[in-house]
């Protein structure tokens, strides 16, 4: 059976198509006001990649912050449930999933059967979130893929006087005007971002076998800093780090649904 998962995040929309064995099609685009059209075109792209016809997709599950906006979805699920499902599906040794997305950092812990135990989210404040990094990178005029290489040259990371992601922008602008190097600024932000994630990981009492996923994990410097701060190994999954939640939603769509509208996870031998 071909199913699809749509992950409407705070910054990007991700669509994954699966046949229950692997991620067959995947498409991703930036979130915007015309999300309906974006979802439609992404779904088509992912479906064509998977070589599936228009009516082959039997069920769609939506997830993520804007999951409820997806009209085609059978229902929506929390993103932690989806990332947990996908991570455990890809690697049976995973016990913790750290999802560093556009705005939220979610730490989900799993039991040895892959069931979701607890989730910890930075829900109060955007300090140390992806948005924080994005705002600062924008303020110093560095594109997303250059962040890591610039930050790795820094010898003296800047330490922020305020952790507020809103105030960071004006603070950075005045620092750069005063002659601060953009590499130092970015290294400082990466440190702030990683320490936020590290404190969430500590708070969750994470067990080893930590999978680091989400858009921010694509920055190697973030991954390195986080392993340095926690002293743990941050594993990468075999699929695109951004696609994990969409894949998980698609996988969950494979399962049966009981009367209460809850998915019963499939038994795997």
């Amino acid at each position: 059976m071909i199913t699809a998962g749509i992950d409407v995040g705070t910054r990007f929309i991700k669509v994954g198509v699966t046949d229950g064995e692997s991620l067959r099609g995947y498409a991703c685009a930036e979130m915007g006001p015309h999300f309906d059209a974006i979802i439609r075109s992404l779904l088509k792209e992912a479906r064509l990649q998977a070589g599936a016809g228009r009516w082959d997709i039997k069920k769609i599950i939506a997830t993520g912050f804007g999951g409820h906006l997806v009209k085609k979805a059978a229902f929506t699920l929390g993103d932690a449930a989806c990332t947990a499902k996908a991570a455990f599906f890809l690697d049976r040794d995973i016990r913790t999933v750290v999802d560093m997305g556009g705005l939220f950092i979610t730490v989900a812990t799993l039991d040895q059967n892959g069931f979701l135990e607890t989730t910890h989210i930075n829900e109060r404040c955007a300090a140390g979130s992806g948005k924080f990094l994005e705002t600062v990178a924008e303020a110093v005029g560095v594109p997303f893929d250059k962040i890591s290489s610039l930050a790795s040259f820094s010898t003296d990371p800047y330490s922020f006087s305020s952790n507020c992601a809103v105030f960071a922008e004006s603070e950075i602008i005045s620092q750069v005007n005063a002659g601060m190097k953009s590499g130092d600024v970015l290294a400082g932000v990466i440190k702030a971002v990683a320490s936020k994630a590290a404190s969430l990981i500590d708070g969750a009492g994470a067990q080893d076998g930590i999978a680091l996923i989400g858009g921010m994990s694509k920055i190697p410097a973030v991954r390195e800093k986080l392993s340095e701060l926690t002293g743990r190994k941050m594993l990468a999954l075999s699929i695109d780090a951004q696609s994990v939640a969409a894949f998980g939603a698609a996988l969950l769509a494979q399962g049966r649904i009981n009367r209460d509208g809850l998915t019963v996870p499939e038994k795997r031998n």
Binding site: T10, P33, F35, F65, G66, L69, L103, E123, R124, C125, A126, S129, K131, S162, N163, C164, A165, V166, F167, S170, N177
Partner: protein, 263 residues
Amino acid sequence: MIAAGCDVGSLTAKAYIMTEKGPLASEIIRVKSTNINSANEVMEQALASARLRFSDLDCCCSTGYGRYEIPFARMNMSEISCHGLGAFHADPSIRTVIDIGGQDCKVILIDANGNIRDFIMNDKCAAGTGRSLEILARTIGVKLEELGNLAVKSKKPINITNKCSIFMELEVLNHLYTRKRLKHIACGIADAVAKRVAALVKAIDIEDNICITGGVSKNPGVVRQLAYHMNKSFKSLPVDPQIIGALGAACYAMQAIKTGGPS
């Protein structure tokens, strides 16, 4: 005797010129690239409208974020002191000043002589400041100046539950995507900012005759919602509430001249 006050904030710079008889001129501008540029420009404009030159000023006192850098100021005072004295000078019956600026929010208590009794401030988080309002206005595509007027048209503000401005932005977008009426969203934004300020006010014992100063006090939506959340009414000041800080600084400069002050 001519005294001047210069208040360089995070988003605007203000200048106020006065004699012992009364005000001469005042000016408000958006900040320039550096604090020094902002201070020079705003003071030049104020001097021009008072038909004076820099050399005519007997003493100038600076305040605000950039107060240590102002070249022509002979003294500086904290924003807290200046807002307290400024509000007291404008209306001696005031006992509580709520200052909602571009980058912070303060509640200042003053006694019957205009001295600061106590204060509390938030400068760690953008929620409950002008910046938050600015970001959210931009999110819904409404000019900051129009947001307040749009907000007061609504009686049913959307409920924004998040405390962080960036999470608020997301929540507002969500309401925008689900096609809520713009005026209700605008009112919700004003309400969210007011809620954060009200939470700060609760942490201190305020006395009656409350006034609101700072840039956000010009937003009728926030003022209405704040009055609602605090269950109090505000006294309106006879002068522009945004200039109070500079006025207070000018008062300090005037005191300094009278007492022979800093040379």
